[in-house]
Amino acid sequence: MSRIVVLGAGVAGHTAASFLRSWLGKDDSVVVVSPKPTYNWIPSNIWVGVGLMQPADVTFALAPVYERHGIDFRQARAVELHPEGTAEDPAPFVVAESTRAGHEGERESIRYDFLINATGPKLNFGATPGLGPDAGFSHSVCTETHAHETARRLDALVAEMKAGARKRFLVGTGHGACTCEGAAFEYIVNLEFELRQRGVRDRADIWWISNEYELGDFGMGGMHLSRGGYITPSKIFTESLFAERGLNWITRAHVAQVEAGRAHYETIDGAVRAFDFDFAMLLPPFAGVGLKAFDRAGADITPALFQPNGFMKVDTSYAPKPYEQWSAKDWPHTYQSPAYPNLFAAGIAFAPPHAISRPYQTPSGAPVAPAPPRTGMPSATIGKAVARSIVDMAGGAPGPTHRASMAEMGAACVASAGASLVSGTAASMTVFPIVPDFERYPDYGRDLRSTFGEVGLAGHWIKVILHHLFLHKARLRPGWRLIPE
């Protein structure tokens, strides 16, 4: 009889909890601890951010779904890990602080036999002064609430543009260490499409700003595609898409500060510039959620379990090495904590061993280093593999039985480029493996037979189908197990 606690109900945590409940026996229990009462299908937040969907279209309440399937749900934020228990009781436990209305701040200790840290990221808007919708001057699509606010601001600007005003838009990454460039890419091309649909495109100047060395890097070193008789870098296709749509770009940039209507940025060649905008959608860098860990005597052992950025250490070495010396083999396989065998991390919560894209910095020392993407398909695949290992370990296996290295795993991604069932488009991409492996694939680091990309209406249809399919799966409706991650 085991109790498995899952921290977080995003793609990785929700996937892990669902499969754990499905695979474990009735005597075992699965507890999900998440500070939000809802599940958010984040890839569709882009459409909320341009006003084509409402927050209710991309979220649903977790409690009834979990109740129906026998998963114990605690609406709370995990704050402390005690992997050795206490001096009196060696049973490991996690301390969670309630976020439920009327019970805010109430603390509860939840005992576990196995724990999955799938807390996702802290949206670290504070890394750049003035960044973000809450205490700053830029917008975001990271949550459904942020995306909804962004759409309302866009509506107001469109009204002014219809009255004759000219507006300047800035979209991209709000710090040199950001990840998720793909989400910002989706937003800028959807924004451009939507302004066309609303008849005001000719009154908009739209700019991209990012920490990528080249357009199309997406934090994974870009990719090469075999098209038209040539092996061509993704930079060519992305620049082409931007130029075709009249989207200007600034790359190799660290946004140092955002003020009302102005972003200050520095590039790796030392240029320091300001950009005046009417609307900015700038993504924040990610950090761990700030979990603290303590040993049985109550001593702080956080540095033993977590990297300084708050992400959890798993089965790999984090000793610093020059970028050139890293290899695909360095990526974790089982996501088990090296310190405690019953502790795992999944999704964004695990600490990547190194950057996939070559890191740079500005002359003043600011990082221009895209962090590795690990959202969506890899998050779900990792969550499922960790769940399977835990089920086997609970059944007597001596260690993790399943692997899900991002250097041995491919990913499929559909990036919306305009939402219309007859005139919309999306960039459909597959990449294998996610982390380039130059030992297996010496020329480009990836298998070009499984790495491709193209823009077209078919991609938009797939994106719409995936929206409904993955929400059906997340709601654990009939047949959910048949839908792949």
Partner: protein
Amino acid sequence: MATDTRPAPHLDPAFSSATRPSRLTVGLRTFLPWQLVRFVVINLKMLRILWRNHHAH
């Protein structure tokens, strides 16, 4: 129409030299018969990734 009197942002010189798609390429992106074919092809390519992921571990 109103004009923007603010300083012009720095323009990346790569913008003017970027590859542009031909009219045929742009047209095919939303040409229904062709996109029905691509719908099948893209799904097969994605299934290939799923198959490889499933059999890798």
